[in-house]
Amino acid sequence: MAFEKIHTEKMVLHYGSKMALNDITISIPEKKVTAFIGPSGCGKSTFLRSLNRMNDLIEGVTIEGKILIDNINIYDKNIDVVTLRKKVGMVFQKSNPFAKSIYENVAYGPRINGVNDKKQLDEIVENALQNAAIWEEVKDRLGDSAMGLSGGQQQRLCIARTLAVNPEIVLMDEPASALDPLSTSKIEELIVELKEKYTIVIVTHNMQQAARISDLTAFFYLGQLIEFDKTKKIFTNPEKKQTEDYITGRFG
């Protein structure tokens, strides 16, 4: 049985008095791609952000239940969120490179973590850009501004930036939804490669994308986890009628 990298138990989240997530219990295995699908407002992005405590930045959010990563509750008082967010990196829908050079974008994370040796930084930057499948496109212009890259390249740069601090888990919130089909295809190929080394959790509205690249799929609806299973099962013979109605486009 695959190791449970992430495990939540009866997790409940409120935005003020409004319940956004209700009784979420799920085990996400390591080094697989797990996709979260569901209609807008179902809570999938909220749940994703809970996995590295990005919801701490939103006023009025309260969480009950457990969220364990490697069997440690990440909401324990003694958890350092900065260290947590190194371990559990995040890539967003809209790429957000810093207004710096390509090199500096990737080196930024290691630098603030105390890496100052130039040779070491060069190696980290190259490895990260290689792992993000963008090295060949940028290796001769690392000093150029990241803002001059295309949308797809910027997104891969953001992935490289996340990888540069050696995460174990990479969360992706609709990473390709703002990209053209060719760039989307490159991101999808990259995600399938990345799962060799990292645990990937991806939120997507594109069900064909979830079907193409994920090993497991979780279907959320109105803040609840309706069904979670191997992607093949979800897309060929789901257990719940709600799941079938959603993936066949009959609602949502």
């Binding site: 069900m207 897309f235 060929t236 789901p238 066949t248 486009g249 009959r250």
Partner: protein, 222 residues
Amino acid sequence: MESNRIFDLELKKLSEKVVKMCSQVNKQVNDALIALNQYDIELAKKVINNDHEINSLDVKIDKLCQNIFALQHPVARDLRYILSALKINNDLERVGDHAVNIAKRIAPLEDYRQLVSDLGVDKVTKETSILFADVLSLVETHDLNFCKKIYQRSATLKEDCKSIAEQILNEMMNKSEVVVVASNILIIVNLIERIAGYSNNMAESITFVVEGEIVKHKKKLG
């Protein structure tokens, strides 16, 4: 409320065509078997001439399935239905061909109608009609209660065909003058047995649609 989604309309169109195909093949089979039992050459010719309608519908169903796959990205039950529609379409086309082949073999039996009757061929033709009526009901309704009946009738039919085949071989060994016509009857009986096989296939396909389980190659009875 009926859906007006393009996908649902396409699925409805496909379903109607598959049911139509099954209904037309059912008629072909029944007409071929009536022609055999009653030595009705005109009816046999009608079966042969109507085959082009079956073939035309076969092509339309294949094209419709191809379009749905390409344009609609079906999943789950929809996907299973379309995959099964392709298989059922193929099986029905083959059954249609068998009905035509039976019809083509009736004319040489003119002087041997008593032999055909003595061999008990009318028993298996009646069983085939009832079996295929169940297949049509199953394809129309997707009611899996028909599956068990189909498996049971098919098993009985195959046994009866085997028994007739043995009798035919005995006739051939004992009376050399009937070898040619007996061979013809043997082929007809084999074609009827094949129709039983395709009936089983279609029951398996509908089970796959409804339950999501692949049951082919699994024991069905006992």
